[in-house]
Amino acid sequence: MNTLIALIPVFPLIGFLFNSFLGKKISKNLSGIVASLSVLISFVISVMAFLHLQSSSVKSIIVPVFSWITSGSLDIPFEYLLDPLSSVFLLIITGIGFLIHIYSIGYMSHDEGFQRFFAYLNLFVFFMLLLVLGNNYLVIFVGWEGVGLCSYLLIGFWYKNTDYNNAARKAFVMNRIGDLGFLLGVILIFITYGSISYNEVFSNAGTASTAVVTTIALLLFVGAMGKSAQIPLYTWLPDAMAGPTPVSALIHAATMVTAGIYMVTRSNVFYSISEVAAQTVAIIGVATALFAATIGLLQNDIKKILAYSTVSQLGLMFLGLGVGAYSSSVFHVTTHAFFKALLFLGAGSVIHAMGGEQDIRKMGGLKGKVKITFLTMLIGTIAISGLPPFSGFFSKDEILAHVYEHSKTLWVLGMVASMLTAFYMFRMLFLTFYGTFSGTHEQEHHLHESPPTMTFPLIVLAALSVLGGLLGLPEFWHMTNWMHHNLESVILRPVPVTLEHETEWMLMGLAVASAAAVIYFTYLLYRKYGVQPAQKEEQLKPWQKLIYHKYYVDEIYDALIRKPLDFLASLFYKFFDLQVIDGLVNASGSIVKFFGSTVRLAQTGNIGFYLMSMVLGIVCIVLFLFLV
């Protein structure tokens, strides 16, 4: 088993090397097949590992790979850990990863960078697997920064476009801000516990003072804010939609952005100890969930809507983590991976059909033209809106029940975010697929359903979006919440829900009723009364404008951070460095120079001559040495 586990990340790495070195010499088909196959093999092994773990009483398997960094008492082996938490993520990454590879064969078929695309995609899967398999805080960091690199490469995949390049760079830099927090957290863990391996750290977690644990937890959370796009480090994610759509589905929805949730769940003991840190996570989470959801209300770019939805859903997951609902959040990561990957791929299929158009105002009436895409996206939309018995309903409800027990205020805010979600998702659905087509004739003529390589993943993901709820059925229904039991060994200090069954029923009823009401409202607005989004900016009311421009956060960051830094940079350079410091040096230097010019008179000025004499001098010294 150990060898097999160690091999899981190897296959995508081979796929990456194959496509990077041979990419130019092989056909697109071969490239796509090798890339997909490498992920498929990893998926198969992950399934085996998963089943092995389920049937075994041993709940964690540590696989040493090699000794990486040692420095005195600091010993960082390159080591993998297979346990219930990592095995769930392995399945998500390789499973959905495989589907998206298949999808990309169709989606990218006309792109000249096809092989390069698959090389990057494979590399991404490799680093993502390292991220979840690592058994200490530095191996996770390898994956953490590695996926950041791949995200950078894939957002800027079409590297001739300056906007895309800017988006890629922004993503990398914002992530690096988070990464610095993460890195400092890791260092503090080492200083505090003398180790950064999970087991040693977690079993001694309680030995440190709460203040230290709080610092560690908050520093790690800064990392999570960057990677999982939470306030204030979320603005890179909507921009990241510049990348090809499969990338948005895989990296910026299903897997990489959930790394923060994985990491916090992994580190759950810190957040259980530190009330302050947990509270911070919950508040940032709910704030992000609400904030991003409101922005999503008025976006017209189909991918941007989904991007803000992702930010919002991630916020909801952090809200769950903050109130101690770790397994519920991981459950939501799973269902979200299903339906959000589905929605993105569906959006990709729509964009494909529309010949690259992403503005939903120019769509409409597509449901007859792209039937599979429409039906699967309908399923995804229902799932994310939280209607039973689709998967999103169960996972979201579980988080909100925990939140309710923890704080009624947070619960209300979480509910509002959910209602907003149902609104903007159905708005998108109605505007895209219903009504009349409002694109160009050329586009209308071009409309077609995507090839099977693209629809097959949609169908599989749709099925998962329907059935995903089975992974975590409500306990108060007297059913088994598999996810919860599965993660029991990982959650060191669990917070059980002690709500009355009546309360749970009530919460569930409220959630369903509110979602249904919002959907009906949306239906009235966009179907019955046929409201159309403003075509021009002038038609927007001031508050709509504010939302449409994402509260001008990018502009604010620009004015408060980027510009002052650039100003400081040229001030330091042009004034401080060249004038002040160097000025002082030159002033004192002129004294030296005076002596220098005096000495120079004694020299012949023939450079060749004194080069030669210098070397001869050295020779004399050497000879002298040996003679003496």
Partner: protein, 486 residues
């Protein structure tokens, strides 16, 4: 024996090249430097199998009346520096294959002479000998910059020469002061352990004075803020090979010196003033990173980024703990390779396009994909992505500084962010997007450039994934130094 060979071979090669105006000077230099690299590998082998081997030490009397010895040995720290030097010099020579220099024989003779001095600095165990090699290294680089540099070279090189010489004189005073306090059975001694003992017998005021005398020399050479203003001009104006020698190896004389010739000499001085020096180093990190953001010339950008990197190395050394010093050693190796790679990249771009001004470039990626990949790998090493060589050192360094002070480490850690900002900006401006100037073309790489870059890229990845053997030596070297401190 090996130690003398390591010094003797480049010296002889240098003489040979000076004397003969052969057109094959470049190839000869290449062969000699490769032979030297083989000897260095041999020394590494001997060191790892039998560290106490007599092959690795030599001790001859030089000036009896002053008790000056030619005392050279290879220890854990010196073998790493010798390996770095002997690995980089052939690469540096290789990087010159596409440039035609006048009086090429003298040019290569000076490079080899410089190599001799550098190797000497890293192996010297005698204070006077150390100083001699230290100053000797300045002479060839002075001529390389002066004779083959860009415009303004006279003024700039002179400033560089005087500035660093000025610092070194303080060090000489410091060393003589220590020498005068040695007492080995009634005699004075330049031997390093005797100097250590002398230093530690001083009061803390005396130690503080010696600390500053010696630290100034190192601070100028690295350089540490605010002693850095000679560096950008010198780096930009020197011929590429000169810049590589300066940044890749020569500045390591100073960081090496800080580890071996400063920390154990005056531990109380370090305790007293280390804090100030660390603060200066860390200011330099942020300051130079910000200035790097404002650069238009890529070579100058690398020069400032080097100040930032060295600031972190210096802070790590002065924090005087296992992770700090070991991180510094690892980063010295990584920085040496990466900065040579970056200057080679700047040179390649200049040779292909005729400009180093970033805003004139653009779209190189669509003209030469392989080059852009190699550039990206070196860049990632430079911004210390995990699994590149830069990461191991940087992680340990920030770790070491954190143990000294969490606040200072947070500032030092800003390099993680700012480094990414200026490097990716530069990369995007030059490599990505559309071509800005249709006159600028960028064909395929010359073979020598390709080989050099590929070797560097390979090293970036291999020693990032598996730093094991080098890291183990760095760990041992650090332990030896720390033992002297306690």
């Amino acid at each position: 024996m090996l130690t003398l060979l390591l010094i003797g071979l480049p010296l002889l090669a240098s003489l040979l090249l000076f004397a003969s105006k052969t057109p094959a000077a470049r190839n000869l230099a290449m062969i000699f430097s490769l032979a030297e690299f083989v000897i260095a590998l041999g020394a590494w082998y001997v060191f790892s199998t039998n560290p106490g081997s007599s092959l690795l030490q030599v001790n001859l009397t030089w000036v009896e009346s002053l008790n000056i010895h030619v005392n050279l040995s290879i220890s854990a720290l010196s073998i790493l520096m010798v390996l770095l030097t002997c690995f980089l010099v052939p690469l540096i020579i290789l990087s010159s294959f596409q440039s035609e220099y006048e009086n090429a024989n003298s040019f290569y003779a000076l490079i080899l002479l410089m190599q001799m001095a550098l190797v000497g600095v890293f192996m010297a165990n005698d204070g006077f000998l150390f100083y001699v090699f230290w100053e000797l290294a300045l002479i060839p680089i002075y001529f390389i910059c002066l004779l083959w540099g860009g415009e303004n070279r006279g003024k700039i090189t002179f400033k560089f020469f005087v500035y660093t010489l000025f610092g070194s004189l303080f060090m000489l005073i410091g060393l003589i002061y220590l020498y005068n306090h040695t007492n080995v059975e009634g005699l004075k001694s330049w031997y390093i352990n005797d100097l250590y003992n002398a230093g530690r017998s001083l009061t803390d005021t005396q130690q503080s004075a010696v600390f500053w005398l010696i630290f100034i020399a190192f601070a100028i050479k690295m350089p540490v803020f605010p002693f850095h203003t000679w560096q950008p001009d010198t780096y930009v104006n020197a011929p590429t090979q000169g810049t590589m020698l300066l940044s890749g190896i020569m500045l390591k004389m100073a960081t090496f010196g800080a580890i071996k010739w400063l920390l154990p000499l005056v531990p109380l001085g370090v305790q007293e003033w280390g804090n100030t020096a660390i603060v200066l180093s860390v200011i330099g990190i942020v300051y130079a990173s910000l200035i790097a953001m404002a650069q238009k010339d890529f070579k100058r950008l690398i020069a400032y980024s080097s100040i930032a990197h060295v600031g972190l190395i210096s802070a790590g050394i002065l924090s005087a703990n296992q992770q700090g010093i070991q991180g510094a050693i690892m980063q010295m190796l990584a920085h040496g390779v990466n900065v040579v790679g970056l200057f080679l990249i700047a040179d390649i771009i200049f040779r292909h396009t005729g400009t180093r001004e970033m805003s004139k470039l653009g779209g190189i990626r669509s003209m030469n994909g392989n080059f852009s990949v190699l550039f990206l790998i070196v860049l990632l090493g430079s911004v210390a992505l995990p699994l590149t060589n830069g990461f191991v050192g940087e992680f340990l360094l920030i770790n070491g500084v954190y143990q000294y002070s969490a606040l200072i480490a947070t500032f030092a850690g800003l390099t993680v962010i700012l480094g990414a900002v200026y490097m990716l900006r530069a990369y995007q401006t030059m490599m990505l997007g559309e071509r800005r100037d249709s006159n600028i073309t960028f064909g395929s790489l010359h073979k020598s450039d390709k080989v050099a870059l590929m070797i560097i890229a390979l090293v970036v990845i291999v020693f990032g994934v598996y730093p094991g053997p080098l890291n183990a030596i760095a760990e041992q070297a650090t332990k030896e130094i720390l033992m002297l401190l306690n």
